[in-house]
Every structure is written in C-alpha cells, then in structure tokens.
C-alpha cells in the first residue's frame, strides 16, 4: 500500500485539485472556442486541437463553483476520458505532486451527492487539501445533469 502516485494539480477558485497524471494527455493554452448553441451550460465550446475537434467543458460549472472572474484566462487540461479526449477548463495549473495512499480520505457525507460522484476524496497535503477528481465523471455532462434532476 505504499505506492506513490503522481497527480497533476490545478486550481479552481483557489481550491487545489488533482488528476492522476496518466489521465492527462497534455496541458495547452487557452484558444478560441466555438460556442455550441443548445448545449448543456457546462459545455464551453469546441476547439481545434491539431485538427481534432475536442469538446471543452468548464470545470467551474461542472463542480458548481462561481464563474471565473472576467479577464482571467483559463488553461486547457486535455484528458483521456472513457470516450475520447476532452478538454477541461481550469484557472491555472500547479505542480505534479507525488502522494501516498495513506494521506487519502474519501469525501465527507456532507458533500452533495452530485459532487461526491465527481470528487472521489482528498489527499491531505502539507499545507492544503488536494481534491481528487474522477475524470470520467468530470467529463460526463449527461449523467451529472440526470443526477441533478433526481435531487
């Protein structure tokens, strides 16, 4: 149980989040997005990633955080999700950190069920808590909306 795991970290509304580094394909700068009318609100648009059309999701909306202040340019984390690449928009990227399983604790019951499905738990880092994101859930717009409807 002493396997050290690498997480790529990023910030959203000053909270520290982490995604397993194998899941991250690359981090690219923000580029122009093509808005998609009628799409769910967390879909920011479509981007051209070296000739591929990749969907960009606003993580702040997916995680029910306040909107990003005007003038702040997001960064794009391209993750490999269950069905192809998805670009997740975050405020800024942090370091790659190595954590061990002992520091992990699952999300408390007090977190809303919707968020608990996306945030697996936290790693207790020295100064801060790192929220561990389930990338497949974070890339899934439909089921998040369905769960929202149930609650």
């Amino acid at each position: 149980m002493n396997l050290a795991r690498q997480f790529c970290t990023f910030y959203l509304n000053h909270l520290l989040f982490g995604v397993e580094s194998q899941k991250i394909q690359e981090v690219v700068g923000y580029r122009e997005l093509r808005p998609v009318p009628l799409a769910p609100p967390s879909v920011s648009g479509l981007m051209n990633l070296r000739g591929q059309v990749v969907i960009a999701l606003e993580l702040r909306k997916q995680l029910e955080l306040p909107e990003r202040p005007a003038g702040m340019t997001p960064v794009c984390l391209v993750v490999r999700a269950a069905e192809g690449e998805v670009c997740l928009l975050a405020d800024e990227v942090g370091n790659v950190v190595e954590v061990e399983d002992e520091t992990f604790e699952p999300s408390p019951e007090t977190l809303s069920p919707r968020l608990r499905s996306v945030i697996l738990g936290v790693h207790k880092l020295e100064h801060q808590l790192m929220h561990v994101l389930d990338t497949d859930r974070a890339c899934d717009v439909q089921s998040l909306r369905d769960q929202n409807g149930e609650n």
Binding site: P37, G45, V53, V54, I55
Partner: protein, 340 residues
Amino acid sequence: MVRMKIPLTLAIIPALIVTSRGERYAIPQVSLLELVRLEGEHARAGIEMIHGAPVYRLRGHLLPLVYLRRALGEDVGEGPEETTSDTPDASASSATGSRCVNIVVLQAEGQQFGLVVDEVNDTEEIVVKPLSKQLKAIAVYAGATIMGDGKVALILDVLGLAHSSSILAEGKEGALAEAEAAQVASAGQKQKLVLFTGPCDSRMAVPLNMLARLENIPGAEVERSGNQWVTQYRGQILPLIRVSHALEERRQVRTITGVIDLPTAATLQVLVLEHERQAFGLVVNQILDIVESALEPQSPPTRAGVLFSSVVSERVTEMLDVPAILRGGEAFAPVAAVQG
C-alpha cells in the same frame, strides 16, 4: 518510397456554409434544393404568417420557414425582422431597403422547408468529424468540421432541424398530400403504361415503373395458401391477386367460402409488380401492350382500386391504384377466414 494510409472513416462531403450570429454552420449539400434571397420590399412583404407560423410563397406553394437563430435557441425576439444583420450601422438599420432575408430551401423526408439564415457564404468540401458524446443528444447537429482558417464549424442535421422545429411532426400529412398532388400533377405528363384487359374485356393500365416482369404462369403451378393464390416464383412465394377479385364488382356477387377454387385456365398472364419492395403478381385476362400516353383524369373513379379513367389508345382505360389493391388484398383475407 513513402506510403501513406488515409483512414476511410474520414467522410468528405460538399456543404453549404451559412452564418448565424457570426458563427458558421455547414449544411450538407444533399438536402439542399435552392437558395432564395429576398431584398428590399420583398424581404418585408414576402414572408407571411399563418397564425404566427412564418411561410413564404415559393412559386405559388407555401414553404414553411424555420429561423436558424430560433431553432438554436439564440433568438428571443419575435417576427421575421430579427434576421437582418446585426451591424449597428444607424443608416443601414433606418433604411429598410438594406434588409434582406436569406432562405435556404431544404428537403427532409419529402418535406420542404425554408431555413432563414443571416448570411449564405459559400459551398465547400468539408471533412465530417463526429461530435463528442456530450453533444450527441442535440438533434440539430450532425457533426463538426474544421474550416480552412482552422476554426471549428458545426454541421447541421437537416432532419433533426426539421424534427425540432416540428416541420415533420406536423407536416407529415401535408407531405403525403403533396406527394399525391405531385402524382396527379405528373399524371398530366406523358407516362409509360402497361395495358391489359380485366374482366369483361375492360381496359386497364398500371404505370410501367411499377412493373418488374411479365409472366405466363401455368395454372397447375398455382397453390393455395390460406385463402390466397400463391405461386413459387424464382425461389420465393409470390402472392397472386386477381384483378377480377381485387376490384369491387358490384354486378357480380362474390361468394366467400372456406375453400377457394384453383384456376381453371391452362396459363395465367401475370404482371409481377413491385410496390414498397414487396413483389406480387396481378393476374389479368390479357396483357395487351406498353404505351406512352399523356394521362389526364377524364372521369372520376367508378370503384375502389381505380385512380381515374382516361382514354388510352382510343379506349376508356382505368388506371389502377396499386397500393389500394394491395391493401384490399390484405383486408380481404381475414374476413374470408372468419366466415370460413
């Protein structure tokens, strides 16, 4: 030697590029019929309302209109005026003459409708890229593409657009009526017909394009299946419908018994017809000729199964309504079964 493999999944289609709210959309060329641009006075007067539903008179026919902005949920305003370009040019907006309406006439499942867009740009060959699964549920998009300048454009799904604007849901009967009207309209033109005689030497005809083959089938090869005549034909079972039975003969009382009699004639002349991928044989008295004739309904139908009567080769000829005869054949079967 350098070898390159190009994935076959890349589909390149010709598409019309249009603009709505400054964003480009691609419409597959296959659904495109024509483009109409209304300028000046026509732009204001050309679009009429049927209880709030906008229509345009295209060569005498009413074309239902769909505003792309509204179909995409981007237009909260009302009325056709919103389709003018958004340029905040005061002089342009005050002069109504500068307003124009671009209508892209599209076809979806036999139903025509006009899509009103801000601008019509150009036709281009585009590479279709699938949409991410997060967007699959949106019916109005068929995919995405990357334009020459590297920007992403969305491909519109004409069928989805028609469904979401309820063009198809409400217009289904209208489409059928239109198809029938087209059939009548085409009746005025020259058409190739198969002429044959029915009972009592009366002349009848069916359109040649429904005919697959002409056959002489020996009477001994006809078998009974339920209360229907069938025959083995090219490894399949071909149902046979007798013209004399299919057409409602008022003078002749049809006796329905449990067992139907087999043909007495040595050979049967059969028209093998195809309707909606279904083949069946029409047993006629005598096959006469194939003629080209201008078909004009000269008298209304006298009985069920007949579209109209017309004069072909100097004889009064009944044009058979093949779909109705097929329906009649199906309807006839269970009745006989109950009585038998």
